[in-house]
Amino acid sequence: MMAAGGPRRSPAEVAISAVVLVLGIGVAVIGRSLSGKQGYALVGPDMMPIVVGIGLSILGAWLLVESLSGGWRNPEPDVPEERGDHAFIPGAFLWVLGGLATQMVLVHTAGFVIAAGALFFCVARGFGSLRPLRDLVIGLLLGLVVFLFFVKFLNVNLPAGLLKPLLGAAGI
């Protein structure tokens, strides 16, 4: 189980370990700055942040030591094939992330249905779908069904956005 394959240092592991360590120190420092004991309470709002900060620092330091001395124990294999994956596809990742960003921008402007359609289109594209137009239509329809279900049946309000005149004309 130990790093039998000789020295193995993954930059990602070192970076993640360092982030955890720095995060822990930051949390502890902010925790200390919170005003302490108040009134009868003998433990103030500063205690838990300090405990969590120290805990994260210790874990970060531990991970860092492991990452510098032969790598994390029982790591996920670095080679995608060993995990049953294929190589990282940056485009796929970015299409999904971009879809989420687009949806965020559109939901309050163009409305929920259009935002859902855009999200569906981008994510399907990221996953390698070759029929963009069909995806867009499915996404819009799915968004519309969800919108109607929430607004009409559950009484949860969702933004109609650009489709307001259209949905309004249909009595919705």
Partner: protein, 503 residues
């Protein structure tokens, strides 16, 4: 005893009312339908369907949730058997044998033993829950803050140490959850912490946003980047759905043994269903008279783990309902659902809202029967759900994920936080950090902090209170042993392995 019986009977009266029966039916159907989707585990199913209940009255909503909870568990096993992409670690054991059975053209009996086993184990475990809950409540009513705090420490340690391949990364995940739990207004003093002046953060990080972000968005990003171009082979259901006489003979002892393992493991805070399913699998492998079949599709290897899975899910409800302590990610989200209605699970719930609790427990019995009746006949529909290609599947999942986060407060900030958790989930998934401890830390952290501060206020700052109160001391000693013993064992083994080489 007779009191329990009367209360339960009363609960049945309510649970069987047509409208509640309808909510239960909707719950199990939706739970199964979403739970069947590959990559969607029970925790995510419950989180994504939470917004559906915001406008329902509490009893109906909780009944629907009980149905979703059991249905999601059930749906997962169908996916595993036919597709061999376990959406949740609890189905991993089933994947070993169930998918092999399907490949050998025995998908029908595999699905049947999973369904009937889930029903048998779920029903027995619900009976045990009915009997055990009032006893725990009686003990727990005497618990003070010190006992609760010690119990939560116990839960933290087991959840972080047991889940995943690495204790350090499990603990790191837990502490991240604890950190996110600190965000917002401190319940004791009203002071804002880690909100950085963002008004939306003053209410704290919502457990639904976190769970959906980690489980759905993180998973979608991971799948897109690393698995979107791989193809999976789905096993068609050939031949009969029915189990043969020998299938029955081999299944039922496995169901019963699995129930005996699953229920107790569910009740203690050991991360829910993962450990008991593996234990059950190991036990069946040891006891079987057909060892040559294991690894090639042994029916006991499906019957046992699936039954253990469901027995443990019922067991998880014991600490959740009687103590208010969630011991799995799914339970953490169920707790959030309770809190949405201003219902705080715990011993007092059995007194103040007895009717609601017993209706909920009665609806678990009903839900189990509904699942059995619905699922085998509807298997054709679930197979259709499984056939949705990956691009459209994940696109759809993300629509529901963003909907779940957005509809909480109609806020873009929630969507931003959701995507943030998605990126975190991606990194955690890629580097083998378990995500469940983070979700449990988020919801248990603030509760533990409250109990700690209460306990110390009562003891006037005396830290020894946790060791001088006997029950609290017992919990802490067990916790310490859980940490030390595995380390000691590993150390001892390593020394024994190294010794011959050194000589």
């Amino acid at each position: 005893m007779s009191e329990t019986f009367t209360a339960l009977l009363n609960g049945f009266g309510l649970a069987l009312a047509p409208i509640n029966l309808l909510w239960g039916l909707i719950g199990v159907t939706l739970g199964t339908a979403i739970g069947v989707l590959p990559g969607v585990g029970p925790a995510l199913t419950v989180a994504m369907l939470l917004p559906l209940t915001t406008k329902l009255e509490p009893v109906g909503a909780l009944i629907m949730f009980a149905g979703i909870y059991y249905g999601a568990m059930y749906g997962g096993s169908t996916t595993t058997i036919l597709l061999n992409t376990p959406g949740e670690s609890a189905s991993l054991a089933t994947a070993l044998e169930g998918n092999k059975m399907a490949k050998n053209g025995r998908a029908g009996p595999a699905l049947a033993t999973a369904a009937i086993g889930s029903f048998v184990a779920g029903s027995i475990a619900t009976v045990l829950l009915t009997l055990l809950a009032p006893i725990v409540v009686e003990i727990a009513i005497a618990f003070g803050p010190a006992e609760y705090f010690a119990l939560m420490i116990f839960a933290f340690v087991t959840v972080a140490a047991v889940l995943g391949s690495s204790t350090v990364r499990g603990l790191a995940s837990l502490f991240l959850g604890l950190l996110f739990g600190l965000v917002g207004i401190d319940s004791q003093t009203g002071q804002a912490r880690f909100a950085f002046g963002v008004p939306e953060l003053l209410d704290g990080v919502d457990v639904v946003v976190m769970a959906v972000g980690l489980f759905a968005v993180g998973e979608a990003l991971y799948m897109a980047a690393y698995q979107s171009r791989s193809r999976e082979e789905m096993q068609a259901i050939r031949g009969s759905l029915w189990m043969s006489r020998s299938d029955w003979r081999r299944s039922w002892p496995a169901w019963l043994r699995a129930t005996a393992i699953g229920f107790p493991f569910g009740t203690i805070p050991a991360g829910g269903t993962e450990v008991p399913t593996f234990l059950s699998y190991a036990l069946e492998k040891k006891l079987t008279r057909y060892p040559e079949e294991f690894g090639n599709g042994a029916i006991e290897g499906v019957a046992g783990p699936e039954a253990a899975n469901n027995a443990a899910s019922a067991g998880v409800l014991v600490p959740l309902l009687t103590l208010g302590i969630p011991t799995s990610a799914t339970a953490a989200i169920l707790l959030a659902a309770f809190q949405n209605y201003g219902i705080q699970p715990g011993p007092l719930l059995f007194v103040s809202q007895a009717e609601l609790v017993w209706t909920l427990i009665a609806s678990l019995y009903v839900g189990n029967i509904l699942l059995l009746v619905l699922n085998l006949p509807l298997i054709g529909i679930w197979v259709k759900v499984l056939e949705v290609p990956k691009p459209q599947l994940y696109a759809g999942i993300l629509i529901f994920a963003t909907l779940g986060a957005y509809s909480l407060h109609q806020s873009i900030v929630d969507l931003l936080v959701l995507v943030g958790f998605g990126l975190l989930g991606f990194i955690m998934r890629r580097h083998g950090f378990p995500t469940a401890p983070a979700v449990i830390g988020l919801i248990l952290g603030p509760m533990a902090e409250t109990q700690l501060r209460r306990a110390l206020s009562i003891s006037q700052g005396d830290m020894t209170v946790f060791l001088t109160r006997p029950l609290s001391a017992v919990f802490l000693v067990i916790t310490a042993l859980l940490v030390i013993v595995p380390f000691a064992v590993r150390h001892y083994r390593r020394r024994r392995q190294d010794a011959p080489q050194a000589a």
